[in-house]
């Protein structure tokens, strides 16, 4: 048994067959593993998100994080890429789904894949994880404080995103939602609305809303980090993926 892992930048085929940069991390123990597509937060494909991707490999998952801003800013630093994408109104939903599908295909093509794949996303990626799970055939999905699943961004802004709660009947897999009670995007009222929509659609889901936490409590490099809540959240993720991504 070895705890060796490998992490590297690769190129996948995303929406429309476009080349998309991605960060792939995989255990090297010779076993078969479930896959996780990590959807980065609005600040981009940054060091903290790559660390999250490696953490999944450390825990026995094949993990890949596509750079959703590859097209707007090839080769740019994560903050410049995020600024460029923001100025253009963010990532279109259809393109996101195509990029996640490409990342899923890259994972299941690995000889060490057990064929199962989940998504997890943070911040804007939380909404995109739900979007992917309502658009693609997944085994599990995690939404970490994704804003605007319910509700819409302020009017007059260039954002291309709108509410997607109406897609709940199309959810293809169990959903884990991890939220902060002090967050306003999404607010507890909005996550309650999503919960009601999922219940009405007869879907399998599990939501946890943590007191003492706002938005981005998993972000270790930001003041919003809440170590105790993040630890509990990670435990929920390991239990959830242990159940739904086992071979």
């Amino acid at each position: 048994m070895t705890d060796a892992m490998r992490a590297e930048t690769v190129e996948i085929r995303g929406s429309g067959g476009d080349p998309v940069e991605a960060y792939l991390a995989q255990p090297l123990d010779g076993g078969r593993h479930g896959g996780v597509v990590v959807i980065h937060h609005m600040p981009g494909y940054d060091e903290a998100t790559k660390e999250i991707t490696r953490t999944f490999a450390v825990h026995g998952y094949l993990a890949i994080c596509p750079n959703l801003y590859s097209r707007e800013a090839p080769g740019a630093s994560p903050d410049d890429a995020a600024a460029a994408a923001r100025a253009l109104g963010g990532v279109p939903d259809g393109r996101l789904v195509g990029d996640v599908a490409g990342a899923m295909a890259a994972l299941t093509a690995l000889p060490s894949s057990n064929g199962k794949v989940a998504t997890i996303g943070y911040c804007s990626g939380g909404r995109q994880s739900f979007l992917a799970a309502c658009s693609l055939d997944l085994d599990a999905a995690v939404d970490c404080y994704g804003a605007f699943v319910v509700g819409a961004p302020p009017e007059g802004m260039p954002w291309k995103v709108g509410p997607i709660v109406q897609m709940a009947p199309d959810l293809s897999c169990p959903l884990l939602g991890l939220f902060g009670a002090e967050d306003q995007h999404p607010s507890p009222a909005q996550t309650a609305e999503l919960e009601a929509a999922l219940t009405a659609a007869g879907k399998s889901f599990e939501f946890h809303t943590y007191e003492g936490a706002g938005h981005a409590f998993f972000a270790v490099d930001r003041p919003s980090y809440r170590p105790e809540v993040a630890r509990e959240g990670w435990n929920q993720i390991w239990t959830f993926f242990g159940t739904h991504l086992a071979g």
């Binding site: 903050d79 100025a87 802004m157 938005h215 981005a216």
Partner: protein
């Protein structure tokens, strides 16, 4: 929270970035998570020239009080200038 808030403004001017001076064509203004300033939220201004690539960017992150003081300072400076100088400083306008 991620506010998604973004004001986009067409501008004329120049900025100094990683590779020296370049022409500016756009600015975005938003109150959201900063990259570097140690606060949960900050007023960020990106001065951009998208035609020159994502790296053609001058960015500032300010706390709310600083951002208001800066905005008032900009307006006060412009109001103190004789109108003929403002016309002269706006080539092509």
């Amino acid at each position: 929270m991620c506010t998604y808030q973004t004001e986009r403004i067409g501008i004329r001017g120049s900025g100094k970035g990683r590779d020296g001076w370049f022409s500016l064509t756009d600015a975005t203004v938003y109150f959201d998570h900063p990259v570097h300033f140690p606060a949960e939220h900050a007023l960020t201004i990106d001065f951009l020239n998208p035609a020159r690539g994502a790296q053609a960017r001058v960015a500032v992150e300010l706390d709310a009080a600083s951002a208001r003081a800066l905005a008032l300072g900009i307006l006060a400076s412009l109001e103190a200038v004789p109108p003929e100088l403002l016309a002269e400083a706006t080539p092509g306008a």
